[in-house]
Symmetry: C2
Subunit: 156 residues, 2 copies
């Protein structure tokens, strides 16, 4: 153990729960930064842990890394998020979560209306309508969260 207060990438990984490879990746994206030892190894100040907490929270809420970067860049001087920053940003996240919940709920209600009808009509069934709100994400799928993904056997 070293007696200064800097963390190695392994220590930061263990404490933050991010893989070391992810930390390197985040650094390339400019989300976090590190100083270097004479030998070129990364050393992190403890505040990086807090920054990573912020990043994880944002990811949990569904922000892309680009969006996380943008959010972090609203912090003057690239400082780590303070309590006030956190409050301000998390409020916008709450609205986002609300919208996501609303969309899923609308989908569920559409499903309820469809159960038993058997229509499966492209024109009439909200669930299978490509022009539907929940399906309007562009070509292809509406992904549901990996983390929220039910182990599900969706009909298996």
């Amino acid at each position: 153990m070293r007696d200064d207060d800097l963390l190695t990438v392994g220590e930061l990984a263990a404490r933050s729960g991010f893989a070391a490879s992810a930390l390197r990746y985040y650094e390339r994206l400019g989300l976090i930064e590190a100083s270097r030892t004479a030998g070129g190894q990364r050393r992190y100040v403890r505040a990086t842990l807090r920054r990573l907490s912020f990043i994880r929270a944002a990811r949990n809420v569904g922000l892309s890394l680009d969006e996380v970067a943008a959010a972090l860049s609203t912090l003057p001087g690239g400082r780590n998020p303070t309590r006030a920053d956190w409050t301000r940003l998390s409020r916008t996240w709450r609205a986002r979560l609300d919208q996501q919940i609303d969309a899923l709920t609308a989908l569920r209600d559409g499903l309820d209306q469809c159960i038993g009808c058997g229509c499966l009509s492209l024109r009439r069934c909200a669930l299978s309508n490509p022009g539907d709100v929940a399906a309007s994400a562009g070509p292809g799928a509406v992904y549901l969260p990996r983390g929220l993904r039910v182990a599900a056997d969706g009909g298996r």
Copy 2:
């Protein structure tokens, strides 16, 4: 216009809302099938539209194409989904949506508790805790649905 009741890939694409390339892709995965003209062009029976409605509904609910394939394979003889099939399968989807909504709601509640606390502690904050329910999807992100993704321009 041809006077038989078969659809070209372009017509099927227009009516289903899937891109022609997606239809070819689905065929490779065995989700749909087509007969061929003497010249090798695809021709689809109208029931394929219904099958595609089913696929879109399943995708909207969050099933992967693998899961869709599995669900379709529970239909005896590879037939297209009937009303009874639809009822049976959509019931399992409802449970899935419920779970997803619950997970998002839990996340929002966690956020509510966190707003203003400013803790951002890896140990204490549910939102940023890597061991959290919503974050337990493995390394990295919890994706939120593309389709449910708020325009949010946190920077995208």
